[in-house]
C-alpha cells in the first residue's frame, strides 16, 4: 500500500470521526487544528485506524502519534 493510499484511508477516517465531509488533512495536521480532536476522540481515531488497517499500535507508538504525518508513517511501517 502506498503512502498516498494510506493517506486517503486516513482522510476518510477523519471525516467519519469528526463528521465533516470537507475536512482536508495534511501531514502537519494535529490536534490543535481540529477543535474536537481531544483525548477522547483521539482514542476513537486510534481504534478506527487499527480496525481499518488490521494493525495494533504499541504503547510506545501511541505516544508518538501526534500528527497526521506521524500516523501515516507508522501505518506504512506496520503494513
Amino acid at each position: 500500500m502506498t503512502r498516498l493510499e494510506i493517506f486517503e484511508k486516513l482522510q476518510k477516517i477523519f471525516r467519519d470521526i469528526f463528521d465533516d465531509n470537507t475536512l482536508v488533512i495534511t501531514d502537519t495536521t494535529n490536534s490543535s487544528d481540529i477543535d474536537e480532536w481531544d483525548s477522547l476522540n483521539h482514542i476513537n481515531l486510534v481504534v478506527a485506524i487499527e480496525k481499518e488497517m488490521g494493525i495494533k499500535f504499541s504503547f510506545e507508538e501511541l505516544a508518538i502519534l501526534k500528527n497526521v504525518g506521524a500516523m501515516v508513517d507508522l501505518m506504512l511501517q506496520k503494513k
Binding site: 477516517i13 469528526f18 463528521d19 482514542i43 476513537n44 478506527a48
Partner: protein
C-alpha cells in the same frame, strides 16, 4: 444510517459513523425526554455516546449526568449538588469485575473469605439503598469474569477463586433484584459470554484509557442497556407475527403437503424449525401474543400445525390470517382484531420482498431483516430486545387467556337483542380499590404500556407509584373486572390529586381488552364517592391528545363534564360539579 443500530451490529462502523448517525436521529421529533445518570467504575464517555444513539433510536431524547471517573460509589452514597439537581429518571451503574474492592487473598481462612464477601456485597447494597431517594429505576451491571485466572480451572470452585467469588456476588445481586422492584440487573456476565471474554475485554484500551470493556463491545452493551430502559418505560412489543412456509416449517405446505414439510426430528432442518417453534412457544407462555400472517389457503395453512411434530398448535395464535391479501393488509387486520398498535407488532418472514413491502407500508411495525436462514431468526428477535420485560407478572402469563376469552365474548354478543342485554348477561363484578402493595408492579406496567384509552399518557416508575400510594393528597384507584368467562385482571387505573376542595385527574386509563363494558363508568362512580367523602366540590380533568388516544377525546363529555377550555384541539380541560352528578345505571357490581 440509522439501520446501523439494528442487530447484527458492525461495531467499528457504528463507532466511526457515530456523529453522522446522531445527526440523522436528531432530525426526528421527540416527545419523551429522559434524564439518565451514569455512575461509572471506569471510563464511560464512549459508552454514553453510543447509549445516546440507541435511546434516540427508541424515541427517547436523553440528557446525561456522568460521574467523575470511578466515582460511582462516592456519587451514590454521598451525592453531590450537580447529581441531585439533575433529578434522574433512571440511574445506570456501570461496574465490572475491576471494581471489586477486594478479592480474598489465598492464605486467608474461610471466615476471612466470608468477611471479604460480605463487605463487597454490603458496598453495593449501600449504593442501592442510598440511591433510593431518587425514586427512580436503577440498572446495575452484574459481574463479568476476569480474563485471567491464576488458579486456572480451580478459580471456578475454590473459595479463594475470583470466578467463584464473582459467581456468588452475581447470585446475591439476583436475589436482591428479586425483592427490589426498582433494581434491574444488566446481565453483562451473559453479554461477555455471548461475545467471548477475549472480545469483551481489551487490555490495551484498559491500560491506555481505563475502559473496562473493549470498544467492540460498546454497541452490544449499549443496546442491552437501552433494551432494559425501553422495557421499563413501556416500549416493549406485544405480538409476534409469523409467516408460515420456511418460517414455521421448512418447505411450502401448499406444494409439499403436510407430509412434505420439514418439521421434527427426521432431518437437521426439521429440528431447526422445531427449535424455532419451541422458542416461540416459550415467548407465548410468558405473555407474548402470537399471530400468523401468511399467503396460503386458510385450511391448508392450518393443517401445518396438526403435524405430529409441530410444537405450536392453532390455539396458540390469537389471530390467524392465511389468505392471498397483501401482508400489510393482514397485519392491519391483526392489529385491529387484537386491539393493539402497529408499534406493538414484530413481523418475521423469510421472504425479503414481503418484509420490504410491510416495512414500507407500515413503518411502525418492527420488521427485522432476518434473512432466510431459520438458524438466525431467534437471534434477531432476542438481540433487538423486542420482548424484553422487567418482571414476569401473573397477568403477563395469563394475557393470552384474556384475549381468547375475549373472542368467546364476541361470539356471545351476536345472540342478544341489544347490547345492554349482553352486558347484563356477562354478570360482571368489579373490584375498585386503593393501590395496594401486591399490585404496584402491575399498576406501573399498565401505566407505562397503555396508549389508547389513556387521557393524559403520563408514565410513572415503580418508586413514584409507591410514593403516590402512600400520599394523603391523592385519590388512587385500580379496577379489576371479572365476568362469567373469566378474570380480566387489573385493567384500569385512576390517579387524582386533591388540591383544596378540587380533585384534579392526573391519570385515567384502561386496558382495551375491557372496552365497551361500562367499566369506565364504574370507576367514575367510585371516584365521585371518594370525593364526596372528602367534601370535594368538583372534579377537574384534562385530555392530552397523542397519536393513539383519540378514542377518549370525548370521554369527559360522555361522563357529563362541561368543557372549560380547549385552547387547542390537543389539550382540553373539563369540569364536573359533584352536586349535579347522577349515577349512570350500569350492570357492573362493584366490590
Amino acid at each position: 444510517m440509522i439501520n446501523l443500530l439494528n442487530y447484527p451490529f458492525d461495531s467499528a462502523l457504528i463507532l466511526r459513523k457515530r456523529r453522522a448517525v446522531r445527526k440523522e436521529l436528531m432530525g426526528r421529533t421527540y416527545t419523551k425526554k429522559l434524564r439518565v445518570a451514569v455512575l461509572g467504575g471506569s471510563t464511560t464517555d464512549e459508552l454514553i455516546n453510543i447509549i445516546e444513539l440507541f435511546l434516540l433510536k427508541q424515541g427517547f431524547l436523553p440528557t446525561f449526568y456522568q460521574s467523575e471517573y470511578n466515582k460511582y460509589y462516592e456519587d451514590a452514597v454521598f451525592g453531590n449538588n450537580e447529581f441531585s439537581a439533575f433529578k434522574p429518571d433512571i440511574i445506570y451503574i456501570h461496574t465490572t469485575n475491576i471494581n471489586v474492592s477486594q478479592f480474598p487473598a489465598f492464605h486467608t481462612t474461610a471466615e476471612e473469605v466470608e468477611k471479604v464477601f460480605e463487605n463487597e456485597l454490603f458496598k453495593f447494597q449501600t449504593i442501592w439503598k442510598s440511591l433510593k431517594k431518587y425514586n427512580c429505576p436503577i440498572i446495575q451491571n452484574n459481574f463479568d469474569f476476569p480474563i485471567n485466572r491464576s488458579l486456572g480451572n480451580l478459580d471456578a470452585y475454590e473459595i479463594h477463586g475470583k470466578t467463584y467469588f464473582l459467581n456468588r456476588l452475581n447470585l446475591e445481586f439476583a436475589k436482591e433484584a428479586q425483592i427490589n422492584s426498582s433494581l434491574f440487573i444488566n446481565d453483562i456476565n451473559y453479554l461477555a459470554a455471548s461475545i467471548g471474554l477475549q472480545n469483551w475485554f481489551d487490555k490495551h484500551i484498559w491500560f491506555t484509557a481505563k475502559y473496562a470493556i473493549s470498544f467492540d463491545a460498546i454497541p452490544t452493551l449499549s443496546n442491552n442497556i437501552v433494551n432494559i430502559i425501553s422495557a421499563i418505560f413501556g416500549k416493549s412489543k406485544k405480538c409476534l407475527v409469523l409467516d408460515l412456509d420456511n418460517t414455521c416449517w421448512g418447505g411450502v405446505i401448499g406444494d409439499d403437503g403436510l407430509k412434505g414439510i420439514k418439521i421434527g426430528k427426521e432431518s437437521a432442518s426439521g429440528e431447526a424449525y422445531m427449535a424455532f417453534q419451541n422458542y416461540v412457544k416459550e415467548l407465548k407462555l410468558r405473555g407474548v401474543l402470537l399471530a400468523v400472517c401468511s399467503k396460503n389457503e386458510h385450511e391448508i395453512a392450518k393443517e401445518g400445525f396438526t403435524h405430529s411434530d409441530s410444537v405450536l398448535a392453532i390455539e396458540d395464535f390469537t389471530s390467524f390470517k392465511a389468505n392471498w391479501n397483501p401482508k400489510h393488509t393482514n397485519l392491519e387486520n391483526i392489529a385491529s382484531e387484537i386491539n393493539i398498535g402497529f408499534d406493538s407488532l414484530v413481523f418475521i418472514d423469510d421472504n425479503a420482498v414481503e418484509r420490504n413491502i410491510v416495512e414500507s407500508q407500515l413503518p411502525d411495525v418492527s420488521v427485522p431483516d432476518v434473512g432466510n436462514d431459520i438458524l438466525n431468526f431467534i437471534e434477531y428477535i432476542e438481540q433487538n430486545g423486542y420482548f424484553e420485560t422487567g418482571s414476569l407478572s401473573a397477568d403477563d402469563i395469563n394475557r393470552n387467556k384474556f384475549y381468547s376469552e375475549n373472542q368467546e365474548r364476541i361470539n356471545e354478543l351476536s345472540i342478544f337483542e341489544n347490547y345492554q342485554d349482553f352486558l347484563s348477561s356477562l354478570a360482571m363484578e368489579a373490584e375498585i380499590k386503593k393501590f395496594s402493595d401486591v399490585y404496584i408492579d402491575r399498576i406501573t406496567q399498565l401505566i407505562n404500556k397503555t396508549n389508547q384509552f389513556n387521557l393524559t399518557t403520563k408514565r410513572y416508575t415503580v418508586s413514584e407509584i409507591e410514593a403516590i400510594a402512600l400520599s394523603e393528597n391523592y385519590i388512587h384507584l385500580y379496577g379489576k373486572l371479572i365476568d362469567k368467562f373469566g378474570d380480566n385482571g387489573l385493567i384500569s387505573i385512576l390517579i387524582a390529586e386533591i388540591i383544596g376542595d378540587k380533585c384534579v385527574i392526573d391519570t385515567w386509563l384502561m386496558s382495551c381488552r375491557v372496552l365497551k363494558r361500562d367499566m369506565e363508568f364504574a370507576m367514575l362512580d367510585v371516584i365521585v364517592e371518594e370525593c364526596k367523602k372528602r367534601n370535594i366540590s368538583e372534579i377537574l380533568g384534562t385530555y392530552i391528545r397523542t397519536q393513539k388516544n383519540n378514542m377518549v377525546a370525548n370521554l369527559y363529555a360522555e361522563f357529563g363534564f362541561e368543557l372549560q377550555s380547549g385552547d387547542t384541539d390537543n389539550l382540553t380541560k373539563w369540569r364536573l360539579v359533584l352536586k349535579d352528578y347522577i349515577k349512570k345505571g350500569i350492570t357492573i357490581k362493584i366490590n
